[in-house]
């Protein structure tokens, strides 16, 4: 394990690993939910927590250069006095690092309108698997050639390590309002989600929580979330004051048309922040019920939300497991959480059976495996569900182009046998 303090030190560490043919794994804050930073075997773990300096904020161009270990929320805080913020806001934003966000192409509630990490990363100085430092992307609006930066974002440490990152900052909107709508059924809440989008409103964020998770979160924050609702929607709109006011009343109307029992509009920033604190604590608060959870991160077409949610409940019930749902409803990114106690004998089999069932149900409904958490170790062996052998081979070759040595975070993302004819190939490392 090592703790580099500069990109040159990352490069030196990777260089040494490369010479001794030791695999290496990048690690940020370790909040990843797919096991991407989990060491397999005995690799060199390169931890970026000491690289937590914001190198430069250019307020005029709205660009910040940061080291990879900078914590997501700290970046927005440092830009606050300039009226700027960094838009991608994973619920783990108080802890996760920008490097980890780049690694997983992280999303967050406010990515509905503003886009996920990739849309906000302009350039990355990457340490490749042989220790060479190279810049992908650039500050110009459209850099010539292939978008290798786009390729790197979301590569989960398998194409090298980000050592310096240039991100776009957005101006703070002049007006922000947050609404909480509560419903007597999940179907009504889901119909409202579609209704809002159909009405031509694109909220900054549109989140749904079902009954069990709402009660749990309320126990932690005491923000006045309704304990008796079957589902709640947390909606945020922002922009110019007049437009925002119109959208607030529009959303309220759509909600009531679909049977919302209450529409609460947060009165001030303190109330807004409390509501968001609830939403963002949801995963962590699970342990109030049971010590372990298994989480999926599938995306389904918005129109099929109700049906998929019903399937998810059935599948969990068939294995006698409790499932809770908290998710980015606006883009159909589901996070079904299976809640259990790993000390119960035989529980893992049931959890895996339910997990696989849920993924299959999502894929059958036209969905994909991961919205934002990445594939890592955990979802790796599910990749063939969505990609045929040709797709996997193409991805493996792309990866090889970045890392011919195969030392960068091996065993992650792509299942064994992804490369055509891999079984017949000489062992890793002997053919370079």
């Amino acid at each position: 394990m090592c703790f580099p303090e500069s990109i040159e030190e990352i490069s030196a560490a990777v260089g040494i690993a490369c010479r001794h043919r030791v695999p290496f794994v990048a690690r940020g804050s370790g909040t990843g939910l797919a096991g991407g930073a989990t060491p397999v075997g005995d690799p060199l773990v390169i931890v970026t927590t000491r690289m937590n300096r914001i190198l430069e904020i250019d307020a005029a161009d709205r660009v910040a250069w940061v080291e990879p270990g900078v914590c997501n929320l700290d970046l927005s805080r440092s830009a606050r006095h300039l009226g700027l913020h960094y838009a991608p806001d994973p619920s783990s934003q108080q802890a996760c690092s920008i490097g980890g966000n780049v690694g997983t192409n992280a999303g967050g509630p406010h990515c509905l309108r503003d886009g996920v990490t990739s849309a906000h990363v302009l350039a990355v100085d990457v340490v490749l698997a042989d220790g060479v430092i190279t810049r992908l992307g650039g500050l110009a609006p459209d850099t010539p050639g292939y978008d290798l930066r786009g390729c790197f974002v979301g590569s989960e440490g398998t194409m090298g390590i980000a050592g310096r990152i240039a991100v776009r900052l957005l101006p703070d909107p002049p007006a922000v309002r947050t609404l909480l709508l509560d419903f007597a059924s999940v179907a009504a809440a889901a119909a409202t989600v579609s209704g809002i989008i159909a009405a031509g409103i694109v909220p900054a964020a549109l989140e749904m929580m079902d009954a069990p998770i709402t009660r749990l979160v309320e126990d932690f924050v005491g923000a006045g979330y309704p304990r008796d609702a079957e589902a709640v929607l947390l909606v945020e709109v922002s922009g110019l004051p007049e437009g925002v006011a119109a959208e607030v009343s529009g959303i309220g109307q759509v909600g009531r048309d679909h049977g919302a029992r209450h529409v609460r509009v947060a009165a001030d920033d303190a109330e807004r922040e409390l509501l968001w604190k609830g939403r963002k604590s949801a995963f962590g608060a699970i342990a109030r019920i049971a010590p372990d959870y298994y989480l999926h991160d599938a995306v389904v077409p918005r129109t099929r939300l109700v049906e998929v949610l019903a399937r998810v409940r059935e599948i969990a019930a068939a294995q006698d497991l409790l499932v809770m749902n908290v998710f980015h409803a606006g883009d159909g990114n589901l996070h079904p959480l299976l809640v259990f106690d790993a000390r119960e004998p035989g529980i893992w089999e049931r959890v895996h059976a339910a997990g696989n069932g849920i993924v299959r149900a999502c894929v059958e409904a036209g969905g994909v495996l991961s919205g934002e958490h990445g594939i890592g170790l955990e979802k790796r062996d599910l990749m063939p569900l969505v990609f045929d052998p040709d797709d996997l081979d193409a991805q493996a070759r792309l990866r090889d182009a970045f890392d011919p040595s195969g030392l960068a975070n091996p065993e992650k993302v792509l299942p064994r046998g992804s490369r055509c004819g891999e079984a017949t190939r000489a062992p890793e490392g002997t053919w370079v």
Binding site: A285, I286, A287, P291
Partner: protein, 391 residues
């Protein structure tokens, strides 16, 4: 019960999400997982699973300031304070003999015996005058006049002021200010009778839980009746509010329910008339006030009429004092303090300022870094319409 002596469910409550990391001062300055709450909980887990209780484990546990910033941030409700105190207790049993002796002298021979502590304080005062005490230790400048003049309690108390051990010896002027403000609020102020002069917080932190319990019983006996117990040291207040759990039983719980921080007590009664001093005050939240007692709001309530209050931008991060921590883990304590001092100076900007701190340990630690620190009671007393009063 387990090897480290806590309920295994309490350990299982941590799901490893990492949301506590940024709130942990030792993680902030080191970037090390092993100096983070999640890392410490993992270490406890592997010890539970049979790894030896070795020096590495002791270091991991000792480096924790017990500020409980992580506990306040944890959405899973992990009771980190309980876990860490239990682990401390196990670790304390395997200290080298020399350290055990020093600790015994401090915890058993001096702190709970007020006359011995006062005698030591006189010696220290003399040493200070002879310039034998290095300034970096951060001891307050002891005053012979203050040490010589006891505080005289009122008869038939309507509220007690708990005076404590070190604080009564080293910072008695804070007590004087507190008594003055309490009287201005119309209270008759009682003091604990002999024996009730150490709350046991430092003992509990150092893993000496048995002694902490014994001291707690003495403190309870020293302030009978049902008058509220006002505490002007956030660390002592937090410990006394926890007697219910420490000792168990209805009497301890009832005693704990009477305990209030000085600011809480004044805020509930309404501050006496104050003049606007125009002075800038940066509020420092002692961890035991903010994360444990959740009473930091009251400090602002009572001061805001008289001072221009300024907040730091660090979510109430710990200053690194942590009871005896500033002495036992000096290097880390100093690095954590550097961050705090930078945040305080940044908050004040170009203005001359005072720092308000409701805990004597934090005050001394920050004072040693060159800040001018006052207790909220002193700030209030100075802003009373009649600052001299009937002292």
């Amino acid at each position: 019960m387990t090897r480290l002596g806590f309920d295994p469910d309490e350990l299982a409550a941590c799901v490893g999400c990492g949301l506590c990391l940024p709130h942990c001062p030792t993680y902030r300055v080191t970037g090390l997982e092993s100096a983070s709450p999640r890392g410490r909980i993992t270490a406890m887990r592997v010890v539970e699973e049979g790894m030896p209780l070795d020096d590495a484990f002791s270091t991991v546990i000792d480096e924790c300031i017990l500020c409980r910033g992580c506990e306040a941030a944890c959405p899973s409700g992990v009771q980190y304070g309980h876990l860490a105190e239990a682990a401390r207790e196990r670790v304390a049993r395997r200290r080298p003999p020399m350290r055990r002796l020093v600790e015994w002298v401090a915890f058993v021979a001096v702190l709970p015996r007020h006359s011995v502590l006062l005698a030591c304080t006189w010696l220290l005062l003399v040493a200070q005058r002879l310039h034998l005490v290095p300034a970096r230790l951060g001891l307050p400048r002891l005053s012979p006049r203050s040490l010589r003049t006891p505080i005289v309690p009122d008869g038939d108390p309507t509220a007690y002021l708990f005076t404590g051990c070190v604080m009564d010896a080293w910072q008695r002027d804070v007590h004087r200010a507190a008594v003055h403000v309490m009287r201005s609020c119309g209270a008759q102020v009682g003091l604990p009778t002999a024996g009730g002069d150490c709350c046991g917080a430092l003992h509990a932190h150092a893993g000496r839980v048995g002694e902490a319990r014994r001291l707690a019983r003495r403190v309870m006996a020293s302030m009978p009746g049902d008058a509220p117990i006002v505490v002007d040291s956030a660390g002592c207040g937090a410990a006394m509010k926890d007697y219910g759990r420490l000792l168990g039983g209805p009497a301890a719980a009832a005693f704990s329910a009477r305990v209030q921080d000085f600011a809480e007590w004044v805020a509930a009664r309404g501050a006496p008339p104050l003049r606007d001093t125009g002075i800038t005050v940066v509020v420092q939240d002692p961890c035991h006030l903010r994360h444990v007692q959740h009473a930091e709001g009251s400090v602002r309530t009572i001061l805001h009429d008289a001072y221009r209050l300024v907040e730091t931008d660090d979510d109430g991060m710990c200053c690194g004092a942590g009871g005896a921590y500033a002495v036992t883990e000096r290097d880390l304590a100093t690095r954590v303090r550097d961050c705090k001092v930078a945040a305080i100076r940044a908050a004040a900007g170009a203005m001359p300022f005072l720092v308000a701190s409701a805990n004597p340990g934090c005050a001394m630690h920050l004072d040693a870094a060159g800040l001018d620190v006052r207790h909220p009671a002193e700030l209030l007393a100075a802003a009373l319409d009649d600052p001299k009063g009937a002292m």
